[in-house]
Each structure stands twice: as structure tokens, then as C-alpha cells.
Amino acid sequence: MSKIRVENVSKIFGKKIPQALELVKKGESKTAILKKTGATVGVNNTSFEVEDGEIFVIMGLSGSGKSTLVRLLNRLIEPTTGSILINGEDVSKMNKAQLREIRRNKVNMVFQNFGLFPHQTILKNTEYGLKVRGVSKEERRVKAEKALENAGLLEFKDQYPSQLSGGMQQRVGLARALANDSDIVLMDEAFSALDPLIRKGMQDELIELQQNVQKTIIFITHDLNEALRIGDRIAIMKDGAIIQIGTGEEILTNPADDYVRSFIEDVDRSKVLTAENIMVRPVTINPEIDGPKMALKRMKDEQVSLVIATDRKKQLLGFVTADQALQCAKDGKTLLVDCMQKEMNTVPYDMLLEDVLNVIHDSPTPVAVIKEGKLVGVLIRGIVIEALAKSSVEVPEHE
């Protein structure tokens, strides 16, 4: 069973809501409905499911309805129509008391501008969720201190939010949500107000945290790079509607429409593509069987200036360039083993392009890509640069 299940949810702001709703059901667009009725469609007939332990990213530009959508999940904003099931219970039909229970125990939220209470200390802020739940003073202090300790902020517990930097404040915001020990965390542009370096650090922390605590996280962002970095799956929103849901790779390789395509044009590919995506098929030769003449022939046939030496099990042994093979032949050697270069830089197949760049920069020769101990491809400088510059990503065919 899905952790969260959103079915045909719409939110309409303004007047003439019934008429607007009719048009939503007919599948009309946000602008058309605004023109006809004057009502603004915040969220337009949206459905999706989130699995337990998943980081589900909702991505869109400002005004796309993503912040409205996330607020429908804990009903900070009332949905106009549709059902929202959390653990199989329909939040949209709950009365006030039931809704409070869900908010206290099941779903917590982290805010863009941190949402910390300026008149309370860090500890009191972290205790807030436990306090409204009626947890005893002692117990909530222990829990809050533990959450702050995990965030590395225990020593700041008696400070006030304004005394902390943005990144630290957001860590408190996250600690406050985690102290409550609910299994769903809604993060509304949680890192958008932070500067880029801190932001990257926080993303790493979130990924690491997720490996330890396994929450279900709904993460809202307007930054596709951030979405690709942390999201298990990504939903792209435009004008209140979800236009594509998929993994980062699915979206990059198979954009649903021009809108998504225009988005991924701006993606920093070095943070998305892996060595596997950009490597080329290696021209290989077995140096224990073949000699320099065979190597030269293969280079000529394939129009390359070097071949990679592997054994029968495709284990990397080294490489031979055209010059070396010629020299080898002149010296009268019959097996390549005696004249190939055995040192070769390697990278794992799932290394991100930004890290690959460092390796290839320091390497005078091409770099081999290794998967499960076997050679699967080669990275050549020109191809890496080409991949960075390309306007659309095509994942090369390979075995």
C-alpha cells in the first residue's frame, strides 16, 4: 500500500468555484478557466502516489502550485475536491480532531524560511511539536536534545533562532520535524533560502539522513538540479497540473513535452550524468593472444589511436597506443603483453560526471570505466566535453 495517495485533487481559489470545477473536470487549462470564470486554479486535478521510505520531489516554477499541493497534504489549505489518503486514511474527510492527530503524529513540515519561533530558544522550538502533543516536560526535553544532537546543534540549544546562520536554522527546522518522530516529512522549498554551498551540504545531509531513518519525504523545489540530486522520483508541475512523474533519468532521457525539455536544458549535466552515460564502446584486444600487428589492424579498422587490453573475462590489463604498437612490431615482439602500458586510470561506472572531470583532467590517457570488475567503456576527453555541451541528453547504447 502506498504511504500517500493523492487522487484527482484540485484546489481553486476565488469565486465561481463550482463552475471552475466543472471546467477542471473537462480538462481545461488554468488560463482558460481564469478567463472564463475569474477563478484561479491552484492545483488542477492531480493524482500521484508516494511509497514508504521514498523521497518524492515535486518540482515546478513559482506559481506552478507546488507549495499549494504540499499544503493540501496536511490540509493547511483545504482541497476543493479529491481525496488524499495517508496510510489509507482520507485526510480530506477528517474532522478537526482527527486532523490534529495526523499532524501531531504522522506528518510534519519543514518550511522555506525555517518557520522557527523567534521568541523561543532552539530547544523550545525543537520541543514544540512534542509540547502541543502533551508529552511531559522531561520526556520532550530528552527527545528534543537528542534530535539537536543528531543535527550537531546541541550546544546552541539555549540560543535564539536569530543568533544562528540560515543553514543552522534550517537544521533546527528539520530537527524539530524529526523530534516528533512522524514518518512523513513535508519539505517546502526547505533549502531554497540557503546559499549554494550550504545548500549542497544540506542536500548531502538529507540523503545521508534518509539512509538512516527511512522517512517518507515530500520535497518541494524549483531547482531541477536539486530535484535530480535528492529525489527518488520527481513530479514536474506546471500551471497546477503534474505533467510528468518519473525518476531523474527517465525525465532526462524521455521528457514528456517541450516544457520539461526546456527545463532539462538548464540542468547542470555534470551533476546528473554518470560515467556510464557518456562512455564509448572500447576497442579491446587480448594481449596474451594477439600481437602488435593485430593491434594495429584493429586500430585501423575501428579508426582509433589506441586499444584497450583485456583478458577473456574482460578484466582490464592495460592499453596500447598506435606508436607503441609500431615500436613493438619493430622490436620484433610477438605478444602485446611485453610492450603495453599497464597503468591506466579507471573510474566506476556510476561516478558523476563532475567527479569524472577531475580524474580525466589529471590523466594523460583515456580513462577506463569499470563495472563489477569488468571493463565496460572508455572515457575520452573530447566526448566528455561534448556531453557537457549537448543540448539534449542521449544515453548511449551499450551492453
Binding site: 493547511l76 490534529r100 495526523i102 503524529n105 506528518v107 518550511f111 518557520g115 521568541h119 511539536g129
Partner: protein, 283 residues
């Protein structure tokens, strides 16, 4: 054209108002009487207690309060001592204490009633739109007019003075409370709600603490307005510094009018600075 306008009979609004007043006065006579007796008793008691304490102790106590409220600076404390000694010296101490009681009661009741009303206004846009014109009316109607129903309800004396002062001075507390709570950042309200706060938890943990300094600015205004009603209230028999000013006006005595007026100014400055510094200190 004018003839046409003249043909419309005059609307008897004044008569209606009189009738309504008469009805209210008669119907609730017992209620008003009991309020009048109890409040007057309480106020006389407070004044008596204030007068029982030697003036020098009151002066020193207020000076010490001023010293600590203004973050251990001597300015306000010195002004307090000099100003209050001057009032004592002019033989106006008893009148000052009467005025203190009047302002104290009017302000306290304004705050006790005004803050909850302001909270309700901030929670309900309908209630806000009903209250806003009423508050405008209360503030723009000349303060003298309130004396008429005040006398009708409570006779003459200090209680109708308090009643008129409250009506005139309560709007800032209500308005500022409403504004202050509406100004609490949405994100903090959402944060409070997202953790499952009840309305009361939200109000006492988040909204009121964050609204406090703005509400206190409103309270300060209310106290000042209550003070400004002192002279007007004295017209219906509320004793105090206001009464002295009124007497001086009636007898055209420039000297005693100036002295009593100056005493009022000194008192006003002291309580204004005091309430402001208490607010700043806490906020």
C-alpha cells in the same frame, strides 16, 4: 430644488436616540446601579490606599521602577522624582492620586475587554468588518458626547467618568491587537498548525507572544487617551487634576490652570515613558 429637499420631513434621529437611551436606562437600571456602586467602592478604596502611603514612598517606588524599566538609566528616574515632587509641592497630590485611579481603572478595563475583542477581530473577517466602523465611530465622536449616556447610566461621579474614558480610549488596544495578530508571519502560523496545535495553543504559544510588542503600543495609546479624558470626565464630577483644570477655566484663573495642566503633562510623560520602556524591555 431646495423646496423639494425641504419637503422631506426631518428624520427624528435625536428623538429615537433619546427613546432608546430611556429604554436602556430604565430596563437595566438595577444592573447599572450595581456596577456603579461596586466600581465606585473599589475606586474609592484604591484612592484611599494610595493616599494612605506616604507620598515620598510612592515617589521613590515609581522612581526605582523607572530606573529599572529604562535599562538602568537615571534620566527618567530623575524626571519622575522632580516632577512628582513638584506636583506634591503645588498641593495637587490628592488630585493626582484621584487621577491615577481614574486612569488606572479606565486603562485596565480597556485592556481586559479590548485584547479579547481584538483577538476575535483577528480571527473573523466578518467580525472585523463589523467592528471597524464602530471603532471609527468611537474614536471620532467628540469625547464630550459620551458624557451624556454615562450620566444617564451611572449618575455623576467617578464611575461615569471611567465609562466615558473607556469608550474613548479602548479603540487603539482593539485595533493594535487585531493588527498585531494578523501581522504574525503566515509561515509561523503554518508551522504552529502543521504540528497539530489547537487554536488556543497557537494563540498562547505563537500569536500572542509575537504580537506582544505591537499590542503594548496599542495599550500605551489607550493609557494616553484615558489620560486625555481626565479633564472631560471632570465635567461630570470625576475628581482629580482634571477637576482643577476645569475649575481654573471656569474662574479664568490662568495661574492655577497652568499649574494643574503642567501636573497633568508631567504625569502623562511619566506613564508614557514607563509603559514604553516596559514594552521595549520585554520585547
Amino acid at each position: 430644488m431646495n423646496n423639494l429637499l425641504d419637503k422631506i420631513p426631518q428624520m427624528p434621529l435625536a428623538k429615537w436616540t433619546n427613546d432608546a437611551m430611556d429604554w436602556v436606562t430604565e430596563t437595566f437600571q438595577g444592573f447599572f446601579d450595581s456596577i456603579q456602586e461596586n466600581t465606585e467602592g473599589a475606586m474609592l478604596f484604591v484612592t484611599d490606599v494610595l493616599l494612605m502611603i506616604p507620598a515620598i514612598i510612592v515617589i521613590l517606588a515609581i522612581a526605582i521602577l523607572a530606573y529599572f524599566a529604562s535599562k538602568r538609566k537615571f534620566g527618567l528616574a530623575i524626571f519622575t522624582v522632580v516632577g512628582l515632587l513638584f506636583i506634591y509641592n503645588q498641593g495637587l497630590w490628592d488630585d493626582l492620586m484621584n487621577t491615577v485611579t481614574l486612569v488606572l481603572f479606565a486603562s485596565l478595563i480597556s485592556i481586559i475587554v479590548g485584547i479579547p475583542v481584538g483577538i476575535l477581530m483577528s480571527k473573523s473577517t466578518t467580525f472585523e468588518s463589523i467592528m471597524k466602523p464602530i471603532l471609527d465611530f468611537m474614536q471620532t465622536m467628540p469625547g464630550f458626547v459620551y458624557l451624556i449616556p454615562a450620566v444617564a447610566f451611572f449618575g455623576i461621579g467617578i464611575v461615569p467618568g471611567v465609562f466615558a474614558s473607556i469608550i474613548f480610549s479602548i479603540p487603539p488596544t482593539i485595533r493594535f491587537t487585531n493588527l498585531a495578530i494578523r501581522q504574525v508571519p503566515t509561515e509561523l502560523i503554518e508551522a504552529a498548525e502543521s504540528f497539530g496545535s489547537t487554536s488556543a495553543q497557537k494563540l498562547f504559544n505563537v500569536e500572542l507572544p509575537l504580537a506582544k510588542s505591537t499590542i503594548m503600543a496599542g495599550v500605551n495609546q489607550t493609557v494616553m487617551l484615558a489620560l486625555s479624558m481626565v479633564v472631560i470626565a471632570s465635567m461630570i464630577g470625576a475628581e482629580g487634576l482634571g477637576g482643577k483644570v476645569l475649575t481654573a477655566v471656569q474662574r479664568a484663573e490662568v495661574g492655577s490652570g497652568f499649574v494643574a495642566g503642567l501636573a497633568l503633562v508631567i504625569f502623562a510623560i511619566i506613564i508614557d515613558r514607563l509603559t514604553q520602556s516596559i514594552n521595549n524591555k520585554k520585547g
